[in-house]
Amino acid sequence: MYDFDFDVIQRSLPYLWKGLQYTATLTLVAMVGGIVIGTLLAMARLSSIKILYWPASIYVNLLRSTPLILVIFWFYFLVPLIAQWITNSPTPVSIGADRSAFITFTIFEAAYYCEIIRAGIQSIPRGQVAAGYALGLTYGQSMRHVILPQAFRNMTPVLLTQTIILFQDTSLVYVLSVTDLLGAASKVAQRDSRLVEMYSFAAVCYFAVSYTLSLTVKRLQKRFAP
């Protein structure tokens, strides 16, 4: 039987804690950024203006049919080139895997949040928009004061469920050797040849956070259900 070494976990706790902090930061930044950009994309996708509708639709559908790991590679390759172009530097600007991950996840998740928000906006009865216009509100005002507040209230559980998926997906920054929770566990595992302990412990951590969050979502769903 395997000789499970709890000591290695205890010794590496401070390092793992730092990894978890990176994971949490990445999740929060990508969530907030993703929801903001996702809202704009959703409005573009619902717009009758073709020049807004088409680019947003292509963008969302393209990202949603591409694996996240491939998108991570795409941005890791692209961002330095774009940064070079913006800053007019003679060579590609290296921004590091840590920061590349933030940009990638925000932009990638925006496509997924967009579709949730779009469904949320569409679930609002048409009469509400008409009523907003009848009161003399502009498009922006009726969105901000009438449609979006109701839509976001309905969507909160689904948005949170997507955020749990996002939290789990951040583990994929492993492919860039970033020290997130899994990255930290993996680095200790390789150094001390303790793969079993470190990966099991990482699994327990992810499970604890995801499961707690999913229970919260369930409770919210019950409260919001009519």
């Binding site: 039987m1 395997y2 393209l62 049919s65 591409t66 694996p67 996240l68 790991i69 491939l70 590679f73 795409w74 390759f77 692209l78 080139l81 774009i82 070079q84 172009w85 749990i164 789990q168 997906d169 583990s171 994929l172 492993y174 492919v175 899994l182 793969l195 079993v196 990966y199 099991s200 990482a202 699994a203 992810y206 499970f207 995801s210 499961y211 999913s214």
Partner: protein, 246 residues
């Protein structure tokens, strides 16, 4: 941006080894499709069983099914791959462990299928459960009033309707499994994304390489989408709102 475009790169010979670069991508696509299809069959079979069990009146079995779903849903797929690949073999009897490490052909592929299959089965189970629960309660009661046993009620009344209802969400899961199969590159499976990464590292033609890989994934997603739409169309029940009416 000064980038050296070279779309001919796919027809250039591989720097180390034989063949040309497009063959790498096609071989990667082959592994992606093989892994995904096998895992999908496994996920459908396991997911249907677990989903059904969760809706039966047998309390302990329903709870066990619930635990199964929570376990596979709340751990990232990448971590699950590592658990299957690095952790589980250590807890098996030595003979099995040795067989896994020495005699099992293509362990990366087998592990990827198993990990992806279990991961997706939990999602399929949730859809199956939701499908069965969405049926009017009268259907179950009517089946029992007719004297059908519980297995018969599922076989002839509940499942034929529920499985049709859940085709759209299953379509998304089917499309997801192809994307998720890319995670297998972390345990060394040379599927499409892994081959694209390798090709980029050899050629530095990131634009061309990643564009080709993206296009291949989009084609796969589109094919799956059309296939499922065809199945949905063929399996429609006359008289339902989505069934064209009769």
């Amino acid at each position: 941006m000064n980038y050296n475009w070279n779309w001919h790169i796919f027809w250039e010979p591989v720097a180390a080894g034989e063949g040309v670069y497009w063959e790498w991508l096609v071989s990667g696509l082959g592994w992606t499709v093989a892994t995904s299809l096998l895992a999908w069959v496994m996920a459908l079979a396991l997911g249907a069983v677990v989903g059904v069990v969760r809706t039966t009146p047998v309390k302990w079995a329903a709870r066990l099914g619930g635990a199964y779903v929570e376990l596979f849903r709340n751990i990232p797929l990448l971590v699950q791959m590592f658990l299957w690949f690095f952790v589980l073999p250590e807890f098996l009897p030595q003979a099995v462990d040795r067989w896994l490490k020495q005699d099992l052909p293509n362990p990366e592929f087998v592990t990827a299928v198993v990990a992806l299959g279990f991961f997706t089965s939990a999602r399929v189970a949730e859809q199956v459960r939701a499908g069965i629960n969405s049926l009017p309660r009268g259907q179950r009661m009517a089946a029992q009033a007719l004297g059908l046993t519980l297995p018969q009620a599922y076989r002839h009344v509940l499942l034929p309707m529920a499985l049709r209802i859940i085709i759209p969400p299953l379509t998304s899961e089917f499309m997801n499994i192809f994307k998720n199969s890319s995670v297998a590159l972390t345990i060394g499976l040379l599927e499409l994304t892994a081959q694209a990464r390798a090709m980029n590292e050899y050629t530095f033609q990131g634009f061309e390489t990643f564009t080709a890989a993206t296009v291949l994934y989009v084609i796969v997603a589109f094919t799956v989408n059309r296939l499922m739409a065809w199945i949905e169309d063929r399996s429609r029940v006359p008289g339902y709102i989505a069934g064209g009416g009769h």
